[in-house]
């Protein structure tokens, strides 16, 4: 939600920089996503070189100005400009609230932008002349480096805090953390209850605890005044006409959604709040035809639905340029009912968003009157009769205040007076040992909620840290046993993969899995997420196919599989390449060694040519097995408590992976016995960024190498981040690596 700093100041005197205010909001629980100055970078400081009369108009002038890059002519109507002054220039494309600056020809003279008055920049109310800037503003620099009268805060309001969805709501927050009071302006009109010319019948009171109307006749529908449009636009709403704009304005102002009906379109002067009937439909304000269900609440006249209550108005009864008499509606609807309706129709409006989160029941009539007052001011007209409709009395919730419990939970030692002070600033009232919860706070139910209010305003940085005593936990868990299995496989040279738990329709065809017993996702947004996997094998084979550049591909996965209403954790191993069969057998042997399983518990499978082709695997041999993990870990014969899990001995230097294919090269060196392979690997990495991976794959000594000599063989994986690497480029880098290793380590390349 977007709020304007200037608008907050309507309610509370805050004197904080944007940065400070932002930090305060963040630290008290409202996340600030961004802060923006109201005019953008295209409004710059310019210097006037010359002022000439306009040849075609006495009251206009032509200012020749320098914008930091070039000298241009601007047509201007103000009388206060003189050569030498520094002034704000809105260049072509600059956004000033409701206006985007465009190149214009004014009485035959081309104007490349606009010099701005104070009000046009939102800096103040003045429109008598161009804003003259301070002498030390640098020509050509964006103006918002020097002045920024208003800022837009984009806030992320959590779903429990519907009361924050307005400027008044955020002003209350600001008041609480600044230790100030919110001052709400006094209303100027006070119509009495009852005596409205329009009758109201509320049929579903449980879903509409209050519904009030005010009839205003003789309004002049027109565009809103500039200041009103500006505020709406800055807060992210589109101006429509003065009546609709005022209802929106009051919603952003105090958080109460309002609606205006064209009274001329309501038959028999009666509004009914009722359930929609089967097969009823409504054309919404945005032109969409909505099919209604009996669960949905509508505002209707005696013939037809006029609006989807609390969600969206109807097109037919909306306010248009021809409207002269209106009915203004302010109501409270049941959050759950609104949420169900909005969800069922896939509609989300500013109104439904607020009703879903709960509005202030005590604020309904004040909002109605505020809007009416603005309408009389801006659109004219007069109120007919009094306030129509009906509503329950507003409930005041009280809670016990338990200072000891609050202090003990927070670990603080605040006095009762300090607690009360914070609560009062947030709008709570105190009555002996209990507090009266503000009517706008629907999130306060238990004393822990009060603890949060006190904690967040007092500041969590004030909470003293309380250490936990070191303690030993049971180390033997299925988790730990699983990790020991992973260690065993990785020590055999296998790589752990983590594949998605999903299968697409296509995956089931490739793997020839019958879909009947698969668990199906009800609301997948991507076709990849249609089913849950019932086996790790399709994922493992996908990995084998994807990593064609590796030989061998030796991988394992421990992951959950699903079928029917069952879920279990499996272990899967797949290996491809020349030595595939040997590696898979070895993995099985090792598992049998450490557990009570027998060979028949781990049957090794292989793949036919047809199967390999379906998975797009271009390797001649793939061997694999899959088994439930529970039997394995339950029968482990190792002393799980005594074994330590592997963890990195040295820091891992991560290199990003390119989306482009890698080129591989194998190189082998003969070096002195004292040389560590890690040193050679580091040396190779330093050579070039296109080296993604250096892997030792063979190491041996032999008399034929010479005394005190050893042989190391490495795989080099080379890739470019932005494009496919050419063979020639790869050869160049590899040649460089060879040369460097030879000179550094006295190594000899083995051909």
């Amino acid at each position: 939600m977007k709020i304007l700093k200037s608008w907050l100041k309507d309610y509370v005197k805050i004197d904080l920089s944007d940065e400070k205010l932002s930090d305060k909001f963040n630290r008290t629980g409202t996340e600030v996503e961004s802060v923006a100055c109201v005019f953008d970078e295209k409004v710059v400081v310019a210097k006037i070189h010359e002022v000439k009369p306009h040849p075609g108009a006495d009251r206009l002038k032509i200012a020749r100005i320098f914008n930091g890059k070039e000298t241009i002519d601007i047509v201007c109507g103000a009388s206060n400009i003189m050569p030498g002054q520094k002034v704000p220039l809105a260049q072509i494309g600059a956004n000033l609230g409701a206006v985007t600056i465009q190149k214009a020809t004014i009485r035959g003279v081309e104007s490349c932008g606009m010099l701005c008055a104070e009000d046009e920049l939102g800096l103040g109310p003045d429109h008598t002349g161009i804003k003259i800037l301070d002498e030390n503003c640098v020509v050509g620099k964006p103006l918002n480096r020097y002045v920024c009268a208003d800022s837009i805060f984009d806030l992320d309001v959590t779903p429990n805090r519907g009361d924050q969805l307005s400027h008044l709501g955020m002003a209350r927050e600001a008041a609480a953390f600044c230790g100030k009071r919110v001052v709400e302006p006094e209303g100027k009109i006070a119509p009495k209850m009852g005596g409205s010319p329009v009758a109201v019948l509320v049929e579903r009171k449980s879903d509409c605890p209050r519904y009030y109307t005010l009839a205003i006749s003789g309004v002049a529908v027109a565009p809103s005044p500039r200041w009103l449009q500006d505020r709406l636009i800055k807060a992210g709403l589109r101006p429509i006409n003065n009546i609709v704009d005022i209802t929106n304005y009051v919603m952003l102002d105090v958080g109460q959604p309002l609606h205006a009906f064209d009274r001329g379109m309501i038959s028999k002067e009666t509004l009914v709040v009722r359930s929609a009937s089967q097969d009823e439909a409504l054309t919404a304000l945005d032109g969409r035809r909505l099919k209604l269900e009996p669960d949905m609440l509508v505002v209707a006249d005696l013939n037809k639905p006029l609006a989807l209550a609390g969600v969206l108005g109807g097109e037919e009864s909306g306010v248009t340029a021809r409207t002269t008499n209106i009915i203004l509606e302010a109501a409270e609807f049941n959050p759950k009912s609104i949420r169900r309706t909005a969800k069922a129709l896939g509609l989300r409006s500013e109104a439904s968003y607020r009703f879903e989160r709960g509005i202030d029941p005590a604020g309904v009539i004040p909002a109605l009157l505020k809007a009416a007052e603005m309408i009389l001011d801006i659109a004219g007209g007069k109120i007919e009769g009094g306030i129509g409709g009906e509503g329950e009395d507003v409930d005041h919730k009280t809670l016990g205040l338990f200072p000891d419990k609050i202090n003990s939970l927070l670990g603080l030692s605040l006095s009762v007076t300090e607690m009360i002070k914070i609560l009062k600033h947030l709008g709570f009232e105190i009555e002996e040992n209990s507090v009266i919860v503000p009517t706008w706070r629907h999130d306060i139910h238990i004393w822990q909620d009060l603890a949060e209010e006190i904690g967040r305003i007092h500041g969590y940085d004030q909470v003293p840290l309380a250490p936990l005593a070191p303690a030993s936990a049971s180390l033997d868990s299925p988790y730990r046993r699983k990790e020991l299995v992973k260690d065993l496989l990785f020590q055999l040279g296998l790589s752990e993969v983590a594949n998605f738990s999903f299968l697409s329709e296509q995956d089931t065809r490739v793997a020839q899995i019958k879909t009947g017993d698969l668990v199906e996702v009800a609301n997948p947004i991507q076709s990849e997420n249609r089913y849950l996997r019932n086996s790790l094998v399709p994922g493992l084979l996908g990995c084998v196919a994807k990593n064609a550049v590796f030989d061998p591909v030796a991988i394992f996965e421990i992951g959950h599989v699903f079928w029917g209403d069952k879920e279990q954790e499996n272990l899967g191993v797949a290996v491809s390449g020349k030595e595939a069969e040997k590696i898979v057998s070895l993995a099985r042997e090792k598992l049998l060694e450490i557990s009570a399983l027998t060979k028949k518990d781990i049957p090794i499978g292989t793949m036919s040519r047809g199967e390999l082709a379906r998975f797009k695997i271009r390797k001649p041999a793939v061997y694999l097995f899959e088994l439930p993990l529970s039997g394995l870990v339950q029968s482990l014969r190792v002393k799980t408590k005594e074994l330590t899990l592997s963890s990195p001995a040295s820091p891992i230097n991560y290199r990003p992976v390119s989306r482009y294919p890698a080129v591989t090269r194998d190189v082998a060196f003969v070096v002195g016995k004292e040389v560590e392979p890690a040193a050679i690997i580091d040396c190779a990495y330093d050579m070039s960024d296109i080296i993604n991976r250096v892997e030792l794959f063979d190491e041996y000594t032999s008399p034929s190498l010479g005394a005190g000599k050893k042989s190391f063989a490495f795989h080099l994986y080379l890739q470019h981040m932005d494009r496919t690497l050419t063979q020639a480029e790869a050869d160049d880098v590899v040649a460089g690596v060879i040369e460097k290793i030879q000179s550094h380590f006295g190594a000899k390349l083995r051909e």
Partner: protein
């Protein structure tokens, strides 16, 4: 052996994380990935027809279950079966039904922590998290606690660390909500506790400077084979 193997970066990272919590007496508990609406939502105070459900885009299964949106689904499962003190961490895979890009993935790993005992305070939570972050990222790490709403806790907080000059949210936490304790059949008048959820995938990305979250489940050995203990 012919080559050096590798472990998934989340595996390596979880081991380090869990070892730190083991030393504070937390044991490991695991919960199912496909779970009932009750354990994933209602039991942890995320009611039906409440906007707090929208915060987590959910994969619903045709049989009415959900793919867990957090490993908090293990909280009440464990609480029902054990008497306080409860002191566990719950590692595991979680799911969110959202479009994926370099920053968002529908599958990610979380480590949930839960500690319920007599006289557990906010300060215990803050100390524990600070202790953990210092062990993982070094003593100079800057940590900030910020109020935030999570239905399962009251009060609730987000925890940020300073990373390259910017505050970055790394975990959600708070004091266990009495309703959640009721569902565990733990007396909230007698006990209090804290819970936290750590985004493991996100922390691994930070640790190694991994720019694209989609690498984790890509099966690309050029990525995976860089991580060996």
């Amino acid at each position: 052996m012919i080559q050096i193997g590798s472990l998934h970066p989340e595996t390596i990272f979880l081991r380090q994380m869990i070892a730190i919590f083991n030393d504070l007496g937390f044991s490991v508990f695991e919960s199912p990935e496909a779970d009932s609406e009750w354990y994933n939502f209602d039991a942890v105070n995320v009611p039906k027809d409440h906007p707090s459900r929208d915060v987590q885009d959910t994969f619903w299964l045709k049989d009415g279950r959900v793919l867990r949106t957090h490993t908090s689904n293990g909280q009440v499962r464990y609480g029902e079966m054990h008497k306080p003190p409860l002191k566990i961490v719950i590692p595991g895979r979680c799911y969110r039904n959202e479009a994926t890009d370099a920053r968002h993935e529908n599958t990610f790993t979380q480590l949930e922590g839960l500690y319920i005992d007599k006289d557990v305070r906010v300060g215990h939570l803050f100390w524990t998290i600070r202790h953990f972050l210092k062990k993982m990222y070094g003593d100079s790490i800057e940590v900030r606690f910020r109020p935030h709403h999570y239905p399962f806790v009251e009060p609730g907080m987000d925890i940020d660390i300073k990373y390259q000059g910017q505050w970055l949210e790394v975990l959600g936490s708070g004091m266990v909500h009495p309703k959640v304790m009721d569902n565990m059949r733990v007396d909230s008048g007698q006990y209090s506790g804290f819970a936290f959820g750590l985004g493991v995938t996100r922390l691994v990305m930070l640790k190694y400077g991994i720019g694209d979250i989609r690498q984790f489940n890509s099966g690309d050995l050029r990525f995976l084979r860089q991580f060996h203990p």
